[in-house]
Symmetry: C2
Subunit: 331 residues, 2 copies
């Protein structure tokens, strides 16, 4: 266990912790819009309100949890700095959060991570440390960095302060557009789903909370059914934010509070992605498309209901589109 005791809270986070997180981060986050689209309603078969965390700073909800954790460091922890492992949105979010508070940030990234992600994280002022692309190498590298620098680990999802921060998106959505019959979020490591469940179940006795994940990476569904965390073994899914296994802390919340987890095929995820881009006219990443996909494929029986959907982020590689336009229009 790498997580430092000081970043932990007692088990049993409540809505009050999410409210406290919301107050703590309010000055620094975007209060992202809640959007609706008749065309998307028709596609999903229910009344959908989208919480646009693709429009959040760093392009993802991850900034909320990273900021809530960074804001609660002690003076000594701030001085020593923080570390995490992430090839994606959490690394960039933590780098941005650390920069805001003047805290040194180290991000351990597999050497196979795309240069564009390394560069974006480094541009936020983080120190990047490469490692081999295995879980063992990643954990060993993080442990070594902690040993030599005294860093505090801010885990991407297995951290109560991160979970409370992620829950603020659902809290905001409820304030903006609630009540809902159900709220659906994508689930990877489980931080967003757990935070959402804590917020929503605290706000409403009747609103249901569901997770949405790729059928190719259905470890959360299998974990919920079996009652034990099922590992996710290098799943092949376009939803790159949802390839992680569930964390212990998120799972302890999810098994208590979440009403179910539904899955979508890769084709359904791409179709939902296309619908949101073309009809809602906002840029989302594939992980964000999984929730509308499970509404559209009937995996969740929410026909005619009023449903809040958290769009996790907007960090998608648009290279193929731009290259095709350049090939056609530039000579």
């Amino acid at each position: 266990m790498l997580s430092a005791a000081t970043t932990d809270l007692p088990l049993g986070l409540t809505l009050d912790d999410v409210r406290a997180a919301a107050d703590r981060i309010a000055l620094h986050i975007h209060r992202t819009p809640a959007m609706t689209s008749r065309s998307l309603d028709e596609y999903c078969g229910c009344e959908v309100v989208l919480k646009c965390e693709n429009l959040q700073r760093v392009g993802a909800f991850k900034f909320r949890g990273a900021l809530n954790a960074a804001a609660q460091l002690t003076a000594a922890e701030r001085a020593a700095g923080i570390v995490t492992h992430s090839s994606g949105n959490h690394g960039q979010a933590l780098a941005a959060a650390g920069r805001l508070f003047g805290v040194p940030v180290c991000v351990v990234m597999p050497e196979t991570a795309p240069a564009v992600k390394r560069d974006a994280t480094a541009a936020q002022g983080a120190r990047i440390v490469g490692c081999a692309p295995t879980i063992a190498a990643r954990e060993a590298t993080v442990a070594r960095e902690i040993a030599s620098h005294g860093y505090t680990l801010i885990h991407p999802y297995d951290n109560w302060r991160v979970i409370a921060g992620q829950g603020t998106a659902a809290l905001e959505l409820w304030e903006q557009a609630g009540p809902f019959d159900a709220v659906v979020t994508p689930v990877g490591g489980g931080g967003l789903l757990a935070g959402t469940a804590i917020a929503i179940k605290g706000l409403s006795a009747t609103c249901r909370v569901f997770g949405a994940e790729p059928a190719m990476a259905d470890d959360a569904r299998r974990s919920l059914e079996s009652g034990e965390i099922q590992p996710s073994l290098d799943p092949k899914t376009i939803a790159d934010g949802l390839r992680s296994s569930l964390g212990e802390r998120p799972f302890s919340v999810i098994r208590r509070l979440v009403d179910g987890i539904a899955t979508a095929t890769e084709a359904e995820i791409i179709d939902a992605l296309r619908r949101v881009l073309e009809r809602v006219k906002i840029v989302i990443e594939p992980s964000s498309a999984v929730a509308p996909a499970v509404l559209a494929n009937g995996g969740l029986d929410l026909r005619g209901r009023r449903v809040g959907v958290i769009l996790s982020g907007g960090n998608i590689d648009l290279g193929p589109l731009i290259e095709s336009l350049e090939a056609r229009w530039l000579h």
Copy 2:
């Protein structure tokens, strides 16, 4: 001259006409958000507020003008129906506006128009009439349809009611986020730029108004310099909404009220498109990218100023992106 006298207003539209249009269409349009982005500010070298007409119904500002014109038809005109020529956003917008008011709509489209545009317009209940892809064929077809059905022409931009409707986007933007040092819009036929100039010059004695157009289709710039409408001869630009020549009515406003027109190359337009998609996380069409492009390339000397930018629409073909994802992820 095809335009029916009853759709005309006396020359010299004022802010009051734009305000009246805003009241007339308020119940049916989206009050689209005004968005900001630090990253876009850095790119443009000034403080930019985007008016997101890509999030308007039908995906473009064109719905405003079409609705304002359709709302003012006499009972006899409503019964007979309306006609326009457009292979793009105006046709779809007019079809949607006609449907709202129960007015039959006929859209004359070149037979070369993409099936997806024909289908989208037909899906709004419009009757589609094909013609050869020349201006002469288009005008002859419209004239024939008017002669046989008694339709009223709603020209895409050379119509005062349409111009007043387009001006409501700038009026809203000013209410949401004004004042500005300048407002910039793309310019094709000139309806949006003329309506914007009428609104903004009525609201402010000092705010400047500029048009932005592709260097490959710089007829508005040449028209403004020469004092006479310069035809646009089949220009090769990615900004498909900006290939038209200026209309007489819009030009009479533009030459009086607009402070200048700047141009951007195709590469600059594609670069600005990429920045807005990647950083602001909203989907825009190439025509919308021309305004940020002329800010970024220094064509307008607005460094450090506060600038309102009207994004015209979000109807871009995302096929290349979706196909690339399908090729990689579906087996």
